[in-house]
Symmetry: C2
Subunit: 301 residues, 2 copies
């Protein structure tokens, strides 16, 4: 039976610039991206906060994808807004402006009916808040977290604390290096696993993603996308596909984790082909399965 | 039966700087790196040129690896010398100095007894010289070439001409982008295949390498090396392992090409763990097979 997935994180309006195109005020935020991908696999519950400027049509869009929004708080004030730009490499965003709005002093409350969710994704937020959120969840089968360079620099101890309490840590290559102060991703991976999580996902953008565990490693290639429209949200969409695929697995073993890695890559490939959550929203399960098979072929001897 | 391999390219003395260490006057050059790797698989014939400063012990070292040096010319003057430095990322070298020496006006002569070699590697050199060299080889089963940014900039037409006449083009990611003036490696790959070669290898350094053909693609992961001593020669060593593995294959089909990709990665993993050709020279066939199995496990679902 498909397990339930809880995501706790941001919803935002993004202004995105790429060398080829731009969008203003489009739905973004880690929880939006994650939930849209995960909803293709499993029942998703979302805990987040938006301001009174949040458009009813965006609420309907998420709800229409089957996402349970009982944990979505609406507060007086403005929604999280982020403005970022990408150069021609289309990999790392340069932030032009961040306005946290109501997200700034938000402390997530996990509704009682979400507390027994089986899989949990703690999207990027202050690690102390991740820890407080985790305390509100009862005996999940698996917890994954994402983080960012800011917390590595400013809340390193709290981050290491919460990392020790989760099952899966998902970060990008630069963050892995930064966290362990080494250029060697292989060494960083070993050190991060020593901190406590059973699995580490190192996201490598157009080079795919690598899963490290104490028992084995697995290299997922990138799905070959010829034209990338907007890489925003690719990592959270990856996490959505990853936990989504795990939600369908009876056992969370090596085979399930590897399959989930490929689903993460597939989902992020849809995401980067459009702005906002449009790419993932347009992909149905048959589209996902088609790309999964194409991706699998890329590593089949 | 194992096929014979011909390599035409540079032998050099390198001065190499990394943030951790340095070496002066160590044996380098594309043909040295390639030949040492390929010699682990098949009979290798080398066509190259050195100056009167070239040490007899280096000749013996190559000969001792079973490399046929009947095509090694010794001329009055100095051997090719290259001085380069790497920053902490240990990926792309910055050239401090190049002194071509006797390599500068060299025109390779393929000895008659090498002319029927079955597999041929045209290492990085002026594409007009690659073309003239190719004309001296009779009906090889497969020809691969490597090139560099300099020829893309300065001899683009000649390069495209010789690329159309070979089977495998091996370049790095940045060169693929530069050649096709696009950031999308996927698009660049398609365009390069349209130029004529049946296979394109895009080398991605610590991210492995990708094989593109008109029928299929294959993503080889990198072998996880924790401490990289010196990346010099990794690409040529890759090519040596790649052609070496093909030399052992009865048919050069998709399965053989994929297996060869993994052997290329394995050989380059040995190479980067030491300066000069020392890493590859220290690896025997059993070491290679062990890493091959480890690498295969990284992409086994």
């Amino acid at each position: 039976m498909t397990a339930s997935i809880l995501v706790v994180g941001s919803l935002a309006y993004d202004d995105v610039r790429t060398p080829m195109d731009s969008r203003d005020g489009v739905l973004g935020g880690a929880a939006s991206y994650f939930a849209m991908a995960a909803s293709r696999y499993a029942p998703v519950r979302l805990v987040g906060v938006v301001g009174d400027d949040f458009d009813a049509s965006d609420v309907e869009r998420l709800r229409g994808a089957g996402i349970d929004l009982a944990g979505l708080e609406r507060r007086d004030g403005t929604s999280f807004r982020w403005k970022g730009t990408y150069d021609f490499a289309l990999d790392t965003a340069e932030t032009i402006n961040t306005d946290l709005g109501v997200f700034g002093d938000w402390r997530p409350t996990v509704p009682e009916k979400f507390a027994s969710s089986e899989l949990v994704f703690l999207a990027n937020i202050d690690p102390e808040i991740q820890l407080a959120t985790l305390a509100q969840v009862k005996a999940p089968r698996l917890v994954a977290l994402d983080t960012m360079n800011y917390w590595i620099e400013h809340k390193r101890d709290a981050l290491i604390d919460v990392m020790a309490k989760v099952d899966v840590v998902s970060i990008n290559e630069a963050e892995a290096r930064q966290l362990c102060e080494t250029y060697s991703v292989v060494r960083a991976a070993r050190e991060i696993l020593d901190m406590g999580p059973t699995s580490l996902i190192v996201k490598r953008g157009e080079h795919g993603a690598t899963l490290f565990t104490r028992e084995f490693s697995f290299w997922a290639p990138a799905y070959p996308v010829e034209d990338i429209a907007d890489p925003t949200g690719a990592g959270d969409t990856f996490a959505g596909g990853f936990l989504g695929a795990l939600a369908e697995s009876d056992a969370i073993d090596g085979a399930a984790l590897k399959r989930a890695m490929l689903h993460g890559v597939v989902c992020s490939s849809f995401s980067v082909q459009s702005f906002s959550i449009d790419g993932m929203a347009a992909a149905d399960r048959a589209d996902i399965e088609r790309r999964y098979e194409e991706l699998r072929a890329l590593i089949t001897l």
